[in-house]
């Protein structure tokens, strides 16, 4: 496990563009994400946030522009080598159904040449995501949705990456499980000194988890602010529209609560 004093890499996007069938999914994004920060990419469906994220580990190749991790171009390395030191977690999880939980978690070590089953490391990773060591011999179809995504996170952390890419990782979970996992992940991020990029369409989740929120629309970054500034309305019109939703909901909940107390 990387110590708390070494931070994840700095991620630099330089005029990155991706065109799908004539549409600019990502349109000349230039951006620096500092080491050890937690950045949320927020936006409506089709705003380009997932595409931007997947260009970091080259699941999508940019049409122009470049991305560098701590100054090293991602394009300079074979994609499979690059991905072995970047954690990737996504909504559909994609646990290997024919491998038990332990094999799933250790797959990154196995493909890098590890021969025997690293039992201690598997238990360590399970503990890190709050699962008992006995879980290692279960098959994925015997797990609940929340347990599955915890295993997904453990698998992403197995190779001790400095950078975690998370594409709507908790989107398919029930609200309670989701909240628990969000909180647990934020704690992991701090403890391991990770650089985390989280794609989400949920502004509340972004505001509560991230150090910095980027709002995307039509392939461009239209707002870039810390949560406090966003909430204070200092990040522009597009951002305000998105922030308005959770703020209104919170206000209505408070009204309901007050009415309940009065009645």
């Amino acid at each position: 496990m990387s110590g708390t004093n070494t931070l994840g890499p700095e991620v630099v996007f330089d005029t990155v563009t991706k065109i799908f069938a004539g549409t600019r999914a990502v349109d000349g994004v230039t951006l620096t994400i500092s080491p050890g920060s937690f950045v949320a990419l927020v936006g409506a469906s089709g705003s380009g946030k997932s595409t931007l994220l997947k260009m970091v580990n080259r699941l999508v190749e940019p049409d122009s522009g470049s991305i560098a991790l701590d100054g090293r171009m991602v394009a300079a390395e074979a994609p499979y080598r690059l991905r072995r030191h970047i954690g990737y977690v996504f909504q559909n999880i994609g646990l290997f159904p024919h491998m038990d939980v332990g094999e799933n978690i250790a797959i990154g070590l196995r493909i890098a040449g590890e021969r025997s089953r690293p039992t201690v490391r598997i238990a360590e990773l399970l503990a890190l995501v709050g699962l008992p060591a006995a879980m290692a011999t279960r098959m994925p179809d015997q797990l609940s949705g929340g347990q599955r995504q915890r295993v997904g996170v453990a698998r992403a952390l197995a190779a001790a990456p400095g950078l975690m890419l998370m594409d709507e990782p908790f989107g398919a979970l029930d609200p309670v499980t989701r909240d628990t996992l969000c909180t647990a992940y934020r704690a992991l991020h701090d403890r391991l000194g990770l650089t985390s990029i989280l794609v989400t369409h949920d502004m509340a989740e972004a505001l509560l988890l991230a150090d910095r929120v980027l709002v995307m629309a039509a392939g461009r970054i239209v707002a870039d602010a810390v949560p406090a500034d966003l909430l204070a309305g200092r990040a522009g019109a597009e951002a305000d529209a998105l922030v308005a939703v959770p703020r209104d909901q919170a206000a209505r909940l408070r009204t309901l609560e007050a009415a309940g107390r009065d009645g």
Binding site: Y80, R81, L82, R83, R84, N92, G94, F96, H98, I111
Partner: protein, 511 residues
């Protein structure tokens, strides 16, 4: 009947072993072709469409036709590379059956791989697997149960279709089925069919065990089932690895007389100290080429067949002149030796029910042409395609109300039951006398001579020991003796096997 079952069962182990080896080799080659193609096609939808389309087209070619197609292809290939490629027997059977096995394996491999949850593939990419690692660690194990179902289908098809390899001279359980069909020996047919079906069911069940074990990740069970399959293969293959004496191969086309004569020749050669094997049920067109290529060492053909089909001659010289010319041509063009004529003729003839012939006043084919428009002609399967038919038809201006093709045994039944009024009979057929049929005269000599002639392969054309064993058969078999021997095999009650009829014929001709 009981003794026939015993005889059939006695031939079973050797034929079963041949059948197993052929099927296993074809399935293995089919796998070697279709698994890599399936993996490649799973990544390229266009390639998948093209490959599956091609495999489906191959599947629509009837098995017999596919086997027969490989004969000229391999023959041409062999002459192109200067000889050495066997055009008959194992190789064409292997190639045709492998092509048949491709479709189910290819289709299921593609379906198995493309059916994998895309999230799993995204995860494989995400953790940094190479394309090879994705294939081996993720796609192969997840597609295995579906691919295995395709392999099971292919195995059952291959084992079934392997019975057809008999027609190109590869021993298989089809030997029993084809011999039984030709000689109307139900016991032989049943033994062959039951054995082939049982083999298919057992292999399907064992592969099914492997499939279920893979799907449930029970490695032990999969190994046990795979072990049972390996054991069965070993039982088939090990005996063939033991040294064998060199053998001579006797060919036979696909009718009773040929089976009997092959056995008669076999008895003589065995008495002369040869180890004998048989390639029976050969197509008429295949037999001579097989002899010329050395796949068969000796067989009986008919002068008119060689004259019309192989030599492509349309004239009709007298008997002695034709025989001399056939002998000269066979030696000069193919190195094939003509030992001599056996002494009888098996010519195409037109036959009718005796009573009908009398009632309609038909004694010759010329008389027949007058009443033919009201009659149905029944023929064997190849007659209507043969030059002899065209010669008869054109010489007499024959036009029938309808023409129907049967296998020879059923043709006689069709005549007896009135489904046909005239048939393409053979002059040495025992059923002519037995069924009281009238054989119509050929006053315009449209039908050539069909003397039964003994032909030997180029390798034996100068082999005195071999020829000395065969020469006593020359001029030794009168047509009455051949008819009687044929009838013993073809009749419906108290049927004899070709072996028994050959033994009877040997005693009858006193050689």
């Amino acid at each position: 009947m009981d003794s026939q079952v015993v005889l059939a069962v006695a031939r079973l182990p050797a034929l079963l072993a041949d059948h197993v080896m052929l099927s296993a080799a074809a399935l293995a080659l089919g796998l070697a072709i279709s698994l890599p193609l399936g993996v490649a096609a799973a990544r390229r939808p266009r390639l998948a469409r093209i490959l599956l389309g091609m495999a489906a087209v191959i599947q629509t070619i009837p098995g017999l036709a596919l086997l027969a197609l490989f004969y000229p292809i391999l023959l041409a290939l062999s002459s192109f590379v200067g000889g050495g490629i066997p055009a008959l027997g194992f190789l064409p059977s292997l190639l045709a059956l492998s092509l048949y096995a491709v479709l189910p394996i290819l289709r299921n491999t593609v379906a198995g791989i493309t059916g994998i949850d895309p999230a799993v593939i995204e995860a494989a990419d995400g953790v940094g697997m190479t394309e090879r690692q994705t294939l081996l660690l993720v796609q192969a194990p997840l597609a295995a149960p579906v691919a295995m179902a395709g392999i099971r289908t292919a195995a059952v098809w291959t084992i079934g279709a392997a019975t057809l390899s008999t027609t190109v001279g590869q021993p298989s359980l089809g030997d029993l089925i084809f011999a039984g069909l030709q000689t109307q020996d139900t016991a032989l047919v049943l033994v062959g069919c039951v054995a082939a079906a049982a083999l298919a069911l057992i292999v399907d069940a064992l592969l099914g065990l492997v499939e279920h074990a893979i799907a449930r990740r029970r490695r032990g069970r999969a190994l046990v089932a795979a072990g049972a399959i390996a054991l069965g293969l070993a039982a088939a293959i090990v005996p063939t690895l033991l040294p064998r004496q060199p053998a001579v191969t006797i060919g036979a086309k696909n009718f009773s007389e040929q089976y009997i004569l092959a056995r008669l020749i076999g008895r003589r050669l065995e008495a002369a100290g040869y180890r004998v094997s048989y390639k029976e049920g050969l197509g008429s067109a295949v037999a001579f080429s097989a002899l010329a290529a050395g796949d068969v060492d000796v067989y009986v053909d008919y002068s008119g067949t060689i004259w019309n089909n192989a030599m492509k001659r349309a004239d009709n010289p007298p008997r002695a002149a034709m025989l001399a010319e056939v002998g000269r041509w066979a030696r000069a063009d193919h190195g094939v030796g003509l030992v001599g004529s056996l002494g009888f003729e098996n010519a195409y003839a037109i036959a009718m029910r005796g009573a009908d012939a009398k009632r309609l006043g038909v004694a010759s084919i010329a008389d027949l042409s007058r009443v033919a428009p009201d009659l149905v002609l029944g023929t064997d399967i190849e007659f209507l395609e043969r030059p002899e038919w065209r010669a008869i038809r054109d010489a007499y201006g024959l036009r029938f109300k309808a023409q129907r093709s049967y296998s020879p045994s059923f043709m006689y039944r069709a005549l007896a039951s009135g489904q046909a009024d005239a048939i393409s009979a053979f002059s040495s057929d025992g059923r002519i006398a037995a069924d009281r049929l009238a054989v119509l005269a050929d006053p315009r000599r449209a039908i050539p001579n069909y003397d039964a002639i003994l032909l030997v392969s180029p390798g034996h054309a100068g082999d005195e020991r071999f020829l000395a064993a065969l020469r006593p058969l020359v001029g030794a078999i009168p047509v009455e003796a051949m008819r009687e021997a044929n009838y013993r095999v073809d009749r419906d009650v108290d049927k004899q096997t070709p072996e028994a009829a050959a033994a009877w014929l040997e005693r009858r001709i006193g050689r």
